[in-house]
Structures are given as C-alpha cells and as structure tokens.
C-alpha cells in the first residue's frame, strides 16, 4: 500500500493495521509527514511540523510494539493539535503574532492523555487568531481541501483541513461558539463537542472560561469515539457506547426550522434526506422547537467576548497593534459590554439550558443542520466572503452557539454533497455525559450512508 492510500484510511482501520503489525508506527509517521510536505504548501493547515520528533517517537513506539507492549487503538497513530493547545517544550502560537515565540512548559490535559495512549504529534494546526479572530497575516489562511478557493470556516480551520486531506488521522480542535463543528462541517469531517467539563480544558489558551470545549475531529464517528475515549478521564454515564446497536427505538427531536433559519436548498435537502434515513433505520422522529437561535447567539457572544476580553486585557493594553484587526476589534468592543448584560446573558443561558434539558427528557437526541450553507469562496485574507459583504460569521455560525451555552454534547457528521460539490453536515445533540451514546446514534446514521467515506481529491 502506498503512503497516500495509507493516509487516506480511517484511524480505526490503521489502528488495526498497527495492532496486527501489518504497518508499523514508523511507517505511518513517515507516510503522514510525506503527505504534509506535499499538500501543506497549498492548504496551509499546519503552523509547525515536528518531523524529527515524530520520527523518533514513531520509532520508539514501533520498538515498544515489537517488544509486546500495545497501548491501544492510538498506538503509533499520527495526530495533530490546534495550535492553541499547549505542548511542553513545543511552540504554541495561538495563531497570533503576540505568541509567536511561546513555548509552554506543560502539556494540555487533553493532549497528555492522548500522548499516554500512544498518539504521535506530527504538528500543530493553523487557526483563526486566538480562536477568536480571523486568520492572522503572519500565518495566512487555511484552504479547504475540497476546493482550495473556499473557506474552511473557523476557528479550527487547520485541524479540519488537515484531517479531511489525509494529513493527520485526527486532530484536537476547540469549540467556544462552533469553532470545531463549523470547520468540520465545511470540510466534510466529524467533530464532537463533548459535554462541558468531560474533556480536560487545562492547557488551552482560553477564549471563554465557561464555554470552551476541546474536541476530537476525525474522518468518521468511530474514530471520534476512539479519540474521546483516550482523552477523557470520566465514565460515560449512559454506558451505551456500542456503536453497532442501531437506531431502533431511538426518538429524534427534529428542529422546526423558522424563517430566520436561513439554510440553502442544498443544506435543506440534505437535512431532510438525513431525517428520512434516520426514520428508515427505525428511529422515531418528532418535531421540536428549540430556544431562539438568534438570541442564543447574542447571549453566547456576550459571554464569550466579555470573558475573552478579560483574559486578554493586559495584551490589549500593551500590544494592541500586534493583534489582528478582527480579534482586536472584538476584544476592544467587548470592554464596553455593560456588566448587567453579562449577567443577563448568563440568565438567558440558564433558561435555555433548562429548556434543552427538558426537551431531552422527551427525545434521545436533537437533530438540526450543522451549518446553513456550504463552504463559500473566500477573499484573499481567508476570512471575508469573496466579492461579498457582511460578516462571514453570520453565515456560518447560527446553529452552533446554543450548545456552547448549554454544555450539551453535539456532534457534526457529513450528510450530503451540495450542488457546488462541497460537503453538507448534520448536527446531533445528546444528553449531558452521554457522549458515547450520542456517538452510537450518530454511528447508526453513518453506517446507513456512505457520506463519511467521501474524501476530497488530494491537493498539492
């Protein structure tokens, strides 16, 4: 098998190849590095690549396996991290000029768990600045492997692009208002925003103390489940992690779309098609009304921007010119959010959390679109809309922030291809601490379709 083919396989498949000693960790690492070298000049999805360290680690894990020690499904698997996740002794830029030389002295808790499981870090992924702004000119935009004139969205743009393009078998992203789910959707991969607090948040450059989530991003649901299992230290209270159990007996609450929920014909068609598949696989469908998503977006923005502005307060005063214009304007504007509105946003959050909790006593999961449009052609800065005006965030951010507010687990997975050839995704939301049960239901859908097996034509 050639290196490109090897790198196009899902994580759980190469894990079996490693376990059976058909492929060594060193071979996997070398193949992945070759793919990065080939495609990263086009996609710009990595800020740093650690070839020497990855090869050394791949060699060590190969020897460990030969000696009879197997750590589990992540043994020797090349992975990457969004570059706001700290890695001891390794550059962590946050995608910002202000952290260009920053080398942390500790590993993030999520990465430490993955590393113990045998994962090999091949590089750190590009991102929108500080997981809050747009692409910083020093690092440049990341491009979508399905069409390199199109956006990946953000802020975990590099993670989504790398995984979709076969340059990493999985990546950890972060999601404060949709930052893992949106780029995953636009690049046709899977991202799980776990229950708030399930995955350690230590060692991540914060955006919002109360809404940041570390997320597995992978090529399919089963891979996301393996990564989640490796990096958590909590039991799944659902105890229903069997991904083969199917959808019979499951009740799906289907979001009633309103006139404000602007979704393209492609997205609407794919979403309806996905609901038909869930029904044909034995799930019961019930239409439900979610809290107002526009109000949820505002509440999330108030909480996120105020907390981010507090965290970056010193930076904003001492190095404002080193911060890119999108992040700087948001941080500065947030200084003028009245405290009463921060409190009010938190109360709205509480009310919406209670409302979603109540809904989830009547259904097993909630289904809604992941993003209302497919990836649009981006301006040269990789942020704005090519030839258009208006905030790109308003185009892509509607369906995500509610679940950062409420903390419920939410997974996005491919459910179609638009008329422009770009991926469309479905979002499923589950009960607190039932992340693996949510993934089992998502896997039930995935097994009934072939959307997750579609891959972009290799770039580079």
């Amino acid at each position: 098998m050639d290196g490109r083919t090897l790198c196009s396989l899902p994580l759980h498949v190469v894990a079996e190849l490693v376990r059976s000693k058909t492929v060594s960790p060193l071979e996997l690492v070398e193949a992945t590095l070759a793919e990065i070298e080939r495609a990263n000049p086009v996609l710009n999805c990595f800020i740093s690549v650690f070839a020497e360290q990855a090869v050394a680690r791949g060699r060590a894990l190969t020897e460990e396996l030969a000696a009879g020690s197997y750590r589990g499904p992540l043994h020797g698997i090349p992975v990457s991290l969004k570059d706001n996740i700290e890695t001891a002794g390794v550059l962590t830029t946050g995608g910002s000029a202000v952290l260009a030389g920053s080398v942390p002295d500790r590993d993030a808790g999520s990465w430490a768990n993955l590393a113990r499981s045998g994962a090999v870090l091949v590089g750190k992924n590009n991102l929108w600045e500080l997981a809050f702004g747009g692409p910083h000119p020093d690092y440049g935009p990341t491009w979508n492997p399905w069409d390199t004139s199109r956006t990946c969205g953000g802020t975990s743009s590099g993670s989504a692009s790398a995984v979709a393009a076969g340059l990493s078998f999985a990546s950890l992203g972060t999601d404060t208002g949709g930052s893992a789910r949106v780029p995953a959707s636009l690049c046709g991969i899977v991202a799980l925003k776990p229950t708030f607090g399930l995955v350690p948040g230590s060692g991540v450059i914060p955006v919002s103390y109360s809404m940041d989530h570390v997320c597995p991003m992978s090529r399919n649901v089963r891979d996301a489940s393996l990564v989640l299992s490796a990096m958590t230290s909590a039991p799944d209270q659902s105890a229903e992690g069997d991904l083969t159990r199917g959808l019979a007996g499951i009740t799906v609450g289907v979001m009633k779309l309103s006139g404000e929920d602007v979704v393209s014909e492609d997205v609407l068609s794919a979403f309806r098609g996905a609901m038909e598949v869930l029904g044909s696989e034995g799930a019961s469908l019930r239409e439900i009304e979610l809290p107002d998503l526009s109000t949820a977006g505002t509440a999330a923005r108030v909480v996120m921007d105020a907390e981010a502005s507090d965290f970056h307060r010193e930076l904003l005063r001492t190095q404002p010119d080193a911060i890119g214009v999108v992040a700087r304007n948001r941080l500065q504007a947030a200084e003028f959010i009245p405290a009463t509105y921060y409190v009010r946003a938190q109360r709205v959050r509480r009310a919406m959390t209670d409302e979603v909790e109540k809904l989830l006593t009547t259904v097993d999961v909630i289904a809604l679109p992941a993003v209302g449009v497919t990836a649009f052609q981006a301006a040269s800065d990789g942020f704005g809309v090519k030839g258009g005006e208006g905030s790109p965030l308003k185009r892509i951010g509607r369906f995500s922030p509610l679940f950062n507010l409420t903390g419920h687990p939410a997974v996005v997975l491919p459910c179609g291809i638009g008329s422009d050839g770009m991926p469309v995704s479905l979002q499923l939301v589950g009960r607190f601490m039932e992340d693996q049960r949510l993934l089992a239901i998502a896997r039930g859908y995935e097994r009934a379709t072939d959307w997750s097996s579609r891959v972009p034509v290799p770039a580079g």
């Binding site: 109000t295 923005r301 938190q346």
Partner: protein, 73 residues
C-alpha cells in the same frame, strides 16, 4: 483614540497609554465603532427573554475519575 473620539463613542479608555490612543487611526475607530454598534444593538434581544425567577448560575454535571470505555462497531 483621542478624547474627542472617545467622547463620541461615549466611552473612556482609561489604562491605555497616550501613545496607544494616538495609534488609533480614524479608520480603526470606525471599525471599532461598527463592531461596538453591532454588539450593543444586538443586546436588546436579551431584554425580550422572560427571566422571572431564573438565577444566573448554570450547573453542569461533574465528571468523575475513571476512563470512558472504548467502543466497538
């Protein structure tokens, strides 16, 4: 940002150095003003949510200490 511009916005930027204030070009001010305008105008949405008796704190379930089981399928 100079004091006149700050007054137009109805804000103070105490804590910023004079040099930092002066580096704010008019363009930057306008960008910030637009950002701020968008933000403040959206806050009215929050006023329309009925919140009688709703407290501020959100209580999340607490993870305990053992590991998630791996999955199959």
């Amino acid at each position: 940002m100079d004091q006149r511009m700050a007054a137009e916005l109805g804000v103070k930027l105490e804590g910023y150095s004079d040099a930092t204030r002066l580096r704010h070009s008019r363009r930057r001010l306008l960008e910030l003003q637009q950002q701020l305008g968008d933000l403040l105008s959206s806050l009215a949405q929050l006023d329309r949510v009925p919140l009688d008796g709703v407290p501020m704190a959100v209580e999340y379930p607490r993870p305990t200490t053992s590991r998630l089981p791996p999955v199959t399928g």
